[in-house]
């Protein structure tokens, strides 16, 4: 037997697949000949650290490794000590591997939770160059120097060495596995589920609860993190209802599967409890396959809403703390039983059982049955029940009572233990397996996620659920009911109670199980010697000496202990280590364990893949894309698109031969200013406002007046927030006495709608106002330029007079186009030209656009995008998003005059606060470069000429800039202190982050047609 012996280990010390010939496939040397729930007819090849091996269907990676005699599977976090497999479940602190390869590599994956699949590849981690020979194992020699928190005390001089030397070294040494560093190729989904009763865990308690609730007719969801259902029934040799426990479980599962309202989710961990009966769960849909098939996600994140929850999550066994307790071969006794009974694997050849309770003795029996030699059973209790002694005797196992394991010995795995008897004698017993049991901790994590605090139970010597979330009940071992019969009864009772609370009473279900002994007297003390090697937190390498140091340095509050030593902060969140740590702190500080208290439990119960919580929403599907009704039309016309919130807008329409976007934009502007252009403005928010009080409503939400607006007219409106700053602007048109359509900016449409609903419902519920968002209904096309009337004439039905007299600037009305299609026409202009906006039902948008293009062809019509639109609005001094940035007032924007003094409106009072009317505030102005060729950039700051570049001279900033084809130079809008008064003055526009420093002249913000003759023409 050469289990992980140095020589063999070095021989097999291959780390990377493919580089060296693979070692010959070892046999499953530790597989039992019979029993277990593995399928001997389905061998599954897999590779660990480059070694090809074979396991069986039904194995976990851990059980398959053990079956192959592999014991050393990883290196510890800090001291790089050899580590093996401690447990058989999700509490595993040691056996973490990098699963899969390439873009699918998953670091820190617990071998005990990996369902073996054909072709599985895994590597050990945190070692270099190989698992068996790890250079950083030298850290262990320095352990006295790198105790808890040592880094807080050094590396302070000189400051720069921290980032350049110490930190990179620490970072490289720390961390566990390596991320793939590539895009995750797999897909994820989310799903919602609703039920009457959520049962967490499929052990006896969970199955009983699900049966009870299901038979009553309730909608039940049963979540089990394991791929096999049955919980401990698969690992223990116990009878239920006269049959073996696993048989009972299989029958229960079959019955549950037959119930239409019961849904069983295996491979699904309920990771968190959230408010009001919402639970988060993650289903590993395809992790047991080497690659998910195309139609399935890898994992699915569930949001489960349950009226009631029965938490039947079982209990987690506690280890003992002694020097060398981290050696491969030291295992939890319950895990040993799992490997023997469920996986048909002998985790060792010669075992010592070390226990502080009756539970350990069960291990002895199971080991003996499997043919593993049991060298001794050590019980810390001086006396135990006679029946147990008899049991040991019947298996011919030597028992040592009132003794402790002082130290485990071995190089890379366990070779012997030293036992200290009550009389002080020390004895060394050779063994390769130590099965230890120090009592059980209820897995109560989910009870505490909403702030519930666990309660200490003296008789169990464990924390048990204290206050639990409303709607939750805890059953079985999770509630401290450790005996099988109790767990079953508990499950039945709580399952039917939960169903009954949802209106589904079912028949009582009697389930019988043998009684068993669950007595325990946990050993909290750690042996005095070897405190530097007695591990409390195996994953984070926290030793008894570290806890003592924390105590000595004053980190005695339990949360300080945790944070200073990192006890319980590793990927296992201290499932096996927290309580031993607390116990040692309690002993050191003369307090009881409950006086020390437990640290806060937080979700997730076990780590959850980020992808599963994001689901479908990544890449282009991160957020929906909104397309305008004429999107395809614009695409066909060669548009380049740009994101505007969720919308894609047409930015510009390049033509062959144009060198860059600027050339295109110049052409588009020239086309509009010289002839006619067409621009899609469908994305602007549109709100239909009706009702007897519609005008009154507008009076209150806009700063300017609305009652006087005539039917058939449009008006520019400005809205403030209640704090007096500008919220949004847009034109609103009156279509009837009690009917308006409001437009909002694209970016603020939803925000404005919510604000208006607030005003309507909360502030002034007495008003008769009806609002409907109609953005989606209309395709809206701006037709702008001196020839726009002529172009439109061919599209709008002849019955409508478009002459300047009949349809002047700011006219608005319902028209028909294309022979009877209802449409709306607005004579409004963002560009400053004679311009219209034509709204047609969205499905007519493309036809309308084409019709306008055809009608405008004689005038050289071209489509233009947001860039040209923006250049023209800057030329006209119209404010837009850059100016309406939430920090400006109406006054700042030169729109102070719009604020009515005759009425109340939202924001009126707060806009009068002294700082908002301070004449020194930056105000809107225009800017043009003194040297015409200079480029202006938004974001530049203004400083007086000659003033040094420092904050006290900062006078404002450029909000928008564009090349003005009309003026032949760059122009800008900006906010500068007392802007309006300073026209003609020159200042610096300083843009250090882009290296710009341009002399500009302050001018009127209206660069083109200040008298507004064109738009009225």
């Amino acid at each position: 037997m050469a289990l992980g012996r140095p020589a063999a280990a070095l021989r097999n010390g291959v780390t990377t697949t493919g580089l060296r010939p693979l070692a010959p496939t070892p046999m499953q040397t530790h597989r039992l000949a019979s029993g277990g729930f593995v399928d001997r007819s389905r061998p599954l090849p897999f590779v660990f650290d480059g070694r090809a091996m074979t396991g069986l269907a039904g194995d976990t990676l851990a059980s398959a490794l053990l079956a192959n005699g592999v014991r050393l599977v990883g290196r510890s976090f800090k001291y790089h000590r050899p580590r093996g497999i401690l447990s058989a479940g999700s509490e595993e602190p040691n056996a973490l591997v990098e699963l899969r390869a390439g873009a699918r590599r998953e670091p820190n994956t617990r071998a005990t939770g990996i369902e073996l699949f054909d072709g599985l590849v895994a590597e050990s981690q945190n070692r270099w160059p190989s698992l068996h020979f790890d250079m950083l194992a030298i850290n262990a020699w320095f352990s006295p120097f790198i105790k808890a928190g040592f880094y807080y005390k050094t590396f302070m001089w000189p400051a720069s060495l921290w980032e350049n030397l110490y930190e990179p070294l620490i970072r490289r040494a720390a961390g566990l596995g390596r991320a793939a560093g590539e895009e995750d190729p797999d897909h994820y989904e989310k799903a919602f589920a609703f039920c009457d009763v959520l049962v967490v865990g499929s052990g006896p308690a969970g199955l009983a609860a699900a049966l009870a609730a299901g038979r009553g007719g309730a909608r039940v969801i049963l979540c089990e993190e394991d791929f096999a259902l049955g919980g401990r029934l698969l690992s223990e040799r116990k009878e239920v209802d006269g049959v073996e426990g696993h048989v009972w479980a299989a029958r229960a599962v079959a019955e549950l599967q037959s119930m239409p309202e019961v849904r069983i989710l295996p491979r699904s961990t309920v990771f968190g409890a959230y408010d009001h009966g919402t639970y988060g769960a993650v289903e590993r849909v395809a992790d047991h396959l080497s690659v998910p098939p195309g139609h399935l996600p890898r994992q699915r994140g569930w949001r489960i809403v349950a009226k009631r929850c029965v938490l039947a999550s079982g209990a987690i066994e506690r280890p003992m703390v002694f020097a060398g307790n981290d050696l491969p071969g030291v295992m939890l006794a319950g895990a040993v039983r799992s490997y023997l009974n469920r996986f048909a694997v002998a985790p060792g050849r010669r075992a010592v059982v070390y226990t502080s309770g009756d539970d350990g003795w069960r291990t002895l029996v199971d080991l003996a049955r499997a043919g593993v030699e049991v060298a001794a059973l050590v019980d810390t209790r001086p006396a135990v029940d006679e029946s147990l002694i008899a049991l040991a005797r019947s298996h011919d196992v030597r028992t040592v009572l009132g003794a402790e394991v002082l130290r485990a010995r071995g190089f890379q795995s366990l070779a012997a233990v030293e036992i200290g008897a009550s009389d002080g004698r020390i004895e060394r017993i050779a063994c390769d397996l130590l099965a230890m049991s120090n009592g059980w901790n209820p897995a109560l994590h989910l009870t505490a996620h909403l702030g519930g605090r666990p309660r200490w139970d003296d008789s169990l010597a464990a924390f048990v659920p204290g206050t639990v979330p409303s709607g939750m009940a805890v059953a079985g071992a999770a509630a401290g009911k450790l005996a099988l019969a109790e767990a079953l009864a508990d499950g039945v009772r709580l399952g039917s109670e939960a169903a009954a609370a949802c209106g589904f009473a079912g028949p009582a279900i009697p389930v019988a199980a043998e009684t068993e002994r669950t007595g325990s007297a946990p050993l909290w003390r750690a042996p005095k010697r070897g405190a530097n090697k007695a591990f409390v937190d195996l994953q984070n390498d926290v030793t008894v000496a570290d806890v003592a140091l924390a105590h000595r340095e004053g980190f005695r509050a339990v949360e300080h202990l945790k944070r200073y030593t990192t006890l319980g902060m590793a990927t296992d969140q201290g499932k096996t280590s927290n309580l031993p740590g607390l116990a040692i702190m309690a002993a050191l500080s003369g307090r009881t364990i409950p006086e020390v208290g437990a640290t806060v439990f937080r979700p997730p119960y076990t780590p959850v893949a980020i992808g599963a919580l994001a689901g479908h929403h990544r890449g282009k599907d991160f957020r929906p894309t909104r397309r305008s009704p004429v999107h395809a039309w614009a695409q066909a016309r060669g548009a380049v698109f740009v994101e505007a919130g969720l919308w894609l807008r047409q930015q510009y329409f390049p033509r062959a031969g144009e060198r860059d976007w600027l050339e295109t934009v110049k052409r588009e502007v020239a086309t509009v200013r010289g002839g006619v252009g067409l621009c899609d403005v469908s994305t602007l928010g549109k709100i239909d406002i009706q009702g007897a009080d519609a005008a009154e409503f507008l009076e209150r939400v806009y700063v300017n007046g609305w009652k006087s607006l005539a039917i058939g007219r449009a008006r520019y409106g400005l809205m403030l927030r209640e704090d007096g700053f500008v919220l949004d602007d847009g034109t609103t048109s009156r279509l009837g006495e009690e009917h308006f359509v409001m437009t909002t900016t694209t970016a603020s449409a939803a925000k404005v709608m919510q604000h208006l609903e607030f005003c309507r419902q909360v502030l002034w519920p007495e008003l008769d106002v009806q609002m409907t968002p109609v953005t989606e209904q209309w395709a809206q096309l701006a037709v702008a330029g001196p020839r726009s009337r002529e172009a439109l004439r061919a599209v709008v039905d002849n019955a409508h007079d478009l002459s300047n007299e009949a349809f002047p600037y700011l006219a608005a009305g319902e028209v028909t186009v294309g022979g009877g299609v209802p449409a709306r026409l607005f004579r409004i202009s963002f560009s400053g030209e004679l311009a219209y906006e034509l709204a047609v039902p969205a499905s007519f948008g493309e036809a309308a656009a084409e019709a306008i293009m055809a009608a405008g062809a004689p005038f050289g019509i071209a489509p233009y995008g947001t860039e040209a639109l923006s250049a023209m609005r800057i030329e006209k001094g119209h404010v837009a998003g850059n100016e309406l940035n939430g920090q400006t007032t109406a006054r700042d924007l030169g729109l102070g005059g719009m604020m009515s003094t005759k009425k109340d409106f939202v924001g009126r009072l707060m806009a009068k606060r002294s700082a908002l009317v301070d004449p020194d505030r930056p105000m809107l102005a225009g800017f043009r470069p003194v040297r015409l060729s200079d480029r202006l950039r938004a974001g530049a700051h203004f400083l007086p000429l000659g003033a040094p570049a420092s904050a006290e001279h900062d006078e404002g900033h450029m909000t928008s800039a564009a090349f003005s084809p009309t003026l032949g130079s760059w122009i800008g809008l900006g906010l500068i202190r007392r802007g309006a008064e300073r026209v003609g003055e020159r200042v610096r526009a300083l843009d250090p982050v882009r290296g710009g420093d341009v002399e500009v002249e302050i001018c009127s913000p209206v660069f083109v047609d200040p008298a507004g003759e064109r738009l009225r023409g």
Binding site: R105, E106, P107, N108, P144, Y151, Y152, K153, T154, M156, A159, W162, E163, E167, R172, G175, L176, A179, G181, E182, D184, K190, G280, G451, G554, E559, H560, T571, R602, P604, V608, A609, I610, A614, R618, G619, K620, D621, F622, E722, G886, Q887, M910, R913, S914, A915, L916, R937, A938, G939, A940, H941, A949, S950, A951, D954, H957, P992, V993, R994
Partner: protein, 416 residues
């Protein structure tokens, strides 16, 4: 005991048996010159600077739980001074400067790591807004770089530059920004204050403020009444509750902000990145865990924990910019209590009660402020006058309108 590499070697050779407690655990005295309510980063820093810069020794910090149990112990550790507005910039830059010298000042390694903070932008308008900010920073003498897409790609090549819904166009980077080990800040200031004679009193909740004739004279606590000439309140998410003890209503709501840590990994990202088209920021701790967060849950809460919608939102944002995160796992998520002010900026000011001072409104950005907050609050308490760097943080600015609204979100705390 002075900390140094030498001390570590010496003590290791002596079996690590002689390390002294980092702080005393004194009983509260009947009276102090100054009481600081709140043993978070700000309270502890205030006490330290009161002692060091202003010579006050008779000072107590009263903490209702354990030192550092509040937001200082649960934040995403990002420090930066990449602010926009003149009310904020000098203050946060002063904080940055104090961070840069902190460890040698307090003889404690808080792992101030100037690994850079990179804010991504995704549109031209956002680029210009970032330029405006970067320029403001430069005018204030703060380091700032506006990067294009290729420069960003060189820094963080693993982000999604190809397929993003909101393509990355570039970023604003502050090279001097970075991270600081959260707990170490609390412990380092605590130890330094303790060594200057400040009494740090844990498990001591202030339950009442004793006010006589418009002047504060002491506090009621769960460990009895304590007299004081001056009281400074630095209780972050509990600000409204303590202020209510003096009959004050504040322009503050308490909201929960969640944060997340992943399993420990070998080095993956060596800077701080924030997403510009959603709420998400990420860095990697020296221990290897990715530390990340997003938006506040968005409703008033004193529950110290959040809910799934924000969790999923954060993960969606994570995948949106960095699809390589998919298989990495969230190890733990938690919440803190944010004192969200109505303009998103802090308050360091006197109150209408004589001798009662307020330090609050830190929102989700007060960790980086810890040194300057302590410095300026100590100055205010000691001298009665606001420190010039914090002069804009007045309580009356909401009434006058001199608000400091970096985001232009208006008086709605859940939008800041």
């Amino acid at each position: 005991m002075r900390y140094s590499a030498f001390a570590i070697v010496r003590e290791a050779l002596r079996g690590n048996r002689h390390w002294a407690p980092v702080w005393r655990e004194p009983e509260p005295k009947p009276a102090y010159d100054i009481i600081i309510v709140g043993g978070g980063g700000h309270g502890l820093a205030t006490a330290y600077y009161l002692a060091k810069e202003h010579g006050y020794a008779n000072v107590a910090v009263l903490e209702k739980g354990y030192l550092g149990s509040g937001n200082v112990g649960r934040n995403t550790t990002i420090v930066r001074s990449n602010y926009l507005l003149p009310g904020n910039l000098p203050f946060y830059e002063w904080s940055m400067k104090l961070w840069e010298g902190l460890e040698r000042d307090i003889n404690y390694n808080a792992m101030v790591s100037q690994r850079g903070v990179l804010n991504l932008y995704h549109s031209d308008a956002q680029r210009d807004a970032f330029a405006r900010r970067g320029n403001a920073m430069r005018l204030h003498g703060v380091d700032a770089e506006l990067l294009g897409r290729d420069e960003v790609r060189r820094l963080v090549p693993f982000l999604d530059f190809e397929n993003g819904r909101f393509p990355i166009q570039g970023g604003l980077r502050q090279p001097r920004g970075g991270t600081v080990r959260h707990d170490a800040v609390a412990w380092g200031y605590a130890r330094a204050a303790d060594r200057r004679g400040v009494d740090l009193i844990q498990n001591c909740e202030v339950t009442g403020l004793t006010i006589e004739a418009g002047r504060i004279v002491g506090v009621e606590t769960t460990r009895g009444a304590i007299r004081a000439k001056k009281v400074g309140v630095a209780v972050a998410g509990s600000s409204s509750r303590v202020a209510a003890m003096a009959g004050l209503r504040l322009p503050i709501e308490s909201h929960v902000l969640q944060a997340f840590a992943s399993e420990a990994l070998k080095p993956l990202i060596d800077t701080v990145v924030t997403f510009g088209a959603g709420h998400f920021y990420i860095s990697q701790s020296d221990k290897g865990g990715l530390v990340f967060g997003g938006d506040i849950d968005g409703y008033n809460s004193y529950a110290w924990r959040g809910n799934l919608p924000i969790i999923e939102d954060v993960m969606e944002c994570a995948m949106a910019i960095w699809p390589g995160l998919g298989r990495l796992r969230v190890l733990r998520h938690w919440g803190g209590l944010m004192d969200m002010s109505m303009d998103g900026s802090p308050i360091i000011d006197r109150t209408p009660i004589h001798g009662l001072f307020l330090n609050a409104g830190w929102c989700y950005g007060g960790f980086k402020a810890t040194p300057a907050s302590g410095w300026c609050f100590a100055h205010l308490i000691a001298t009665g006058e606001p420190h010039p760097h914090a002069a804009a943080y007045r309580l009356d600015r909401f009434a006058t309108g001199a608000v400091i609204d970096e985001k232009g979100a208006g008086a709605q705390p859940n939008l800041h």
